[in-house]
């Protein structure tokens, strides 16, 4: 299992920033993240004192609110070697935008810059830093992938999840038309402009359904909840929406097959 670019990865302490959506709506993504990071050889800690990355404040233009939220993230995570987030948009918030709100506060700016330097999105961290390759995972079926905007454009997450998923035996990729086009979530946008958001996600689900894939995968809970919620409302219950980490670990009943594999402990990919 250990095959790492950062040869001393096991000496490094990883703080997992769970994100508010994973914490409340989808804990299995958090457990899957811990599992994957440990399989990649990291020593993982989940600080109890954590809340949210502050995007609702930042995207609403409330800079003072953003600073308040950002300060506690900095305080509780700056001592780690790495801060890892199972979400591109939250990772981008911490990595790219915290520094923007501390331009007039030099001491906090330095701390925000340090935090930015250790912050990574989960799937790209596993590939780029840990050189991790999932082993003995198999799942009969097909998936299509939605590339969430912040991860894609702000952090360059595109190849990494595909690379991880290519290690899953039996799993076939079906290309999603306009996979890099926004799903219409946009945080507060989707409730503020619910009708525009609905029109956008409606087009996205049309493309998803057309792939006839068994699984819709992504790396951001917000976008996944948006697309899953629309698919369910439209009656497309045949498509199971999962965070990539959930599929890679079998942390959800929908992807139980590979968990069963893991329990049997075998290298046998046949079912």
């Amino acid at each position: 299992m250990m095959n790492t670019k950062d040869s001393q990865i096991s000496d490094k302490k990883v703080g997992l920033f769970v994100t508010c959506l994973v914490n409340t709506m989808r804990p299995s993504v958090g457990f899957a993240s811990v599992q994957l990071l440990e399989e990649a050889g990291c020593s993982v800690e989940v600080p109890e004192l954590q809340s949210c990355c502050g995007q609702p404040s930042f995207n609403s233009g409330d800079d003072e609110g953003t600073r308040q939220v950002a300060k506690q993230v900095i305080q509780h995570f700056e001592h780690f070697d790495y801060l890892v987030v199972p979400s591109g948009s939250c990772a981008s918030m911490i990595k790219k935008h915290f520094v923007e709100v501390f331009q007039d506060q030099p001491e906090w700016l330095t701390r925000a810059e340090h935090l930015a330097s250790i912050t990574h999105e989960l799937l790209s961290f596993l590939v780029d830093i840990c050189d991790f390759e999932p082993k003995n995972v198999s799942l009969d079926g097909s998936y299509t992938y939605h590339d969430s905007c912040s991860g894609l454009r702000s952090l360059g997450v595109y190849e990494q999840p595909r690379k991880l998923l290519s290690s899953v035996e039996g799993l076939e990729h079906k290309q999603l038309t306009a996979s890099t086009e926004c799903c219409g979530f946009g945080g507060t946008f989707c409730v503020k402009y619910t009708d525009i958001s609905n029109a956008i996600v409606g087009e996205k689900t049309e493309n998803i359904v057309a792939t006839k894939a068994d699984y819709l995968l992504g790396g951001d809970m917000g976008c996944l909840m948006n697309m899953a919620g629309k698919l369910n409302r439209e009656g497309h219950t045949e498509i199971k929406t999962l965070h990539t980490a959930e599929l890679l670990t079998g942390q959800r009943p929908e992807a139980m097959q590979n968990k069963a594999m893991e329990n049997s402990g075998g290298n046998d990919a046949s079912k």
Binding site: N23, S28, S51, N59, S60, G186, G187, F189, S197
Partner: protein, 477 residues
């Protein structure tokens, strides 16, 4: 159609989304533009370098705006042009209208210009006793329809061929019975050509103002800008001060970016550099040449830290690639400039208080910045406008309350965890088979989609419990 207002954005959006064919009509243009741009960029290996170069040229001019404005004025005057300065749109329109009156003009030909729209020139001409004749075919179509433009490059993109057939049949003197494009173009030509050749004054915009020569550059596909320059005795250029470039050598790299980003073409049919009034020995050209340089909020943008927006070369790529624009179209924005660039510009023209809703109508997905030929960080600028709107308390009180309450909780992790656990308990009450179809205060979400129901406990609750039991197990061992 009546022009929408920016302050009625919510209503405009509802109306746009209710139009059954709007999306298909928009897509007909934007999908083609998107594909052709992608092809043009892939055929231009130096595109990324060109973008950086384009950005640097614009940034240099913006930084030394005072110098280049003075240089342009000096050289334009030397070419025989009369240079005017207008600090507002009203001032600019008044200068133009006064010139028209002074020459007792009856017929005015105009070449498509967004600056002209911005300063309200079409409106002013329509409310005078002069006849406004549009030389751009799409502008002619929307003039007949009474529509404002819906896109900065394709102003009539919201009109179908069927619409054009109807408009031409009821407005042209000898209309065609055919519905073929070539026959429709001929019908317009029959109606307009004589007017073009007999107009008193021509008004055009400008794509680039060249400081070292005092020339103005226009970029068209129909040669229509030339129709406003050559036949009439008087020519007026109206241009925003951000159109300045130091020289021809700087205009060309920007031209290469502009045409590829706008239509995917390597070059347009007509690119004209024109210099002041007709001189002795010149074969043609206007006897009198005016240039009206317009500020209208631009220096304020510079002062307000929005200088990156002044790089804009008006290609329209940001709107062609915007998921929001592609669903609501240009008219919904209620302003001259729609889409991402419009949502940044309009608050500086119409005021942030009336145009702040548009700054929120964006998912901050970053696609516009990715395709911008001069690297304008549009999401960053939109976010900065939201911050300004927040600090000026323009945001609705309910939004302010919810967002402030969130920040209060999220900056106190213990309290945040507690309220998250309580939220999970609440949500479980409304869960049916793993989904929530509706619950109080979530209609923004559940009116259009279901909500994934949470598991029984938060991650943190489950994780703590797990750690506790594994610690106990370790101790027992």
């Amino acid at each position: 159609m009546q022009a929408n207002k920016p302050q009625n954005f919510y209503k405009n959006v509802s109306e746009a989304l209710a139009q059954p064919n709007l999306k298909a009509i928009i897509r007909r243009t934007t999908d083609k533009a998107d594909a052709k741009r992608a092809e043009a960029v892939s055929n231009f290996p130096g595109f990324e370098n060109a973008r950086t170069q384009g950005q640097k040229i614009k940034d240099h001019v913006i930084k030394h705006m005072d110098h280049y404005l003075a240089e342009f004025e000096k050289n334009a005057k030397a070419q025989g042009a009369i240079v005017h300065w207008a600090s507002t749109g009203e001032e600019a329109t008044k200068i133009v209208m006064d010139i028209c009156k002074q020459h007792e003009a009856k017929k005015i030909t105009r070449s498509k210009s967004m600056l002209g729209e911005e300063i309200g020139l079409s409106h002013a001409l329509d409310h005078s006793d002069m006849e406004r004749i549009e030389t751009d075919l799409a502008e002619h179509i929307i003039q007949l329809a009474g529509d404002p433009p819906s896109h900065i490059v394709w102003p009539a993109m919201h009109r179908s061929r069927e619409d054009v057939v109807k408009l031409f049949r009821s407005n042209h003197k000898s209309p065609t019975q055919s519905e073929e494009i070539i026959d429709l173009v001929r019908s317009a030509r029959r109606d307009l050509r004589t007017k073009f050749l007999t107009s008193d004054i021509g008004i055009s915009g400008s794509n680039f103002l060249l400081a070292d020569s005092g020339s103005s550059c226009t970029v068209t596909n129909e040669g229509n800008a030339e129709l406003t320059i050559t036949p009439p005795k008087v020519h007026i250029v109206t241009a925003g001060i951000e159109k300045l470039v130091p020289s021809m050598a700087h205009a060309v790299p920007l031209l290469r970016l502009l045409t590829r980003s706008a239509t995917g073409a390597e070059i347009t049919q007509y690119i004209t550099f024109h210099n002041g009034a007709k001189r002795e020995g010149d074969a043609d050209g206007p006897e009198v040449s005016h240039i009206v340089l317009v500020d209208n909020g631009r220096t304020k943008m510079l002062a307000d830290g929005m200088e990156e927006m002044l790089r804009c070369i008006r290609c329209g790529a940001c709107m062609n690639h915007c998921v929001v624009y592609k669903h609501i179209g240009g008219h919904a924005y209620g302003s001259v400039y729609p889409g991402p660039m419009g949502s940044v510009l309009t608050p500086h023209i119409e005021g942030l208080e009336v145009a702040n809703k548009q700054t929120h109508a964006c998912t901050l997905n970053g696609r516009c910045e990715e395709v911008c030929p001069v690297n304008i960080p549009l999401p960053k600028l939109l976010r900065a406008l939201r911050a300004k709107s927040w600090s000026k308390k323009y945001e609705p009180i309910t939004n302010r309350f919810v967002v402030s309450a969130y920040a209060m909780l999220a900056s106190r992790p213990k309290l945040f965890q507690l309220s998250s656990s309580m939220g999970v308990v609440m949500m479980k009450l409304f869960s049916r088979k793993g989904w929530i179809q509706s619950m109080p205060f979530t209609s923004g979400w559940t009116s259009n989609r279901d909500l994934i129901a949470p598991e029984s406990k938060t991650f943190m609750q489950q994780y703590k419990k797990q750690r506790k039991s594994s610690n106990t197990a370790e101790k027992q061992q």
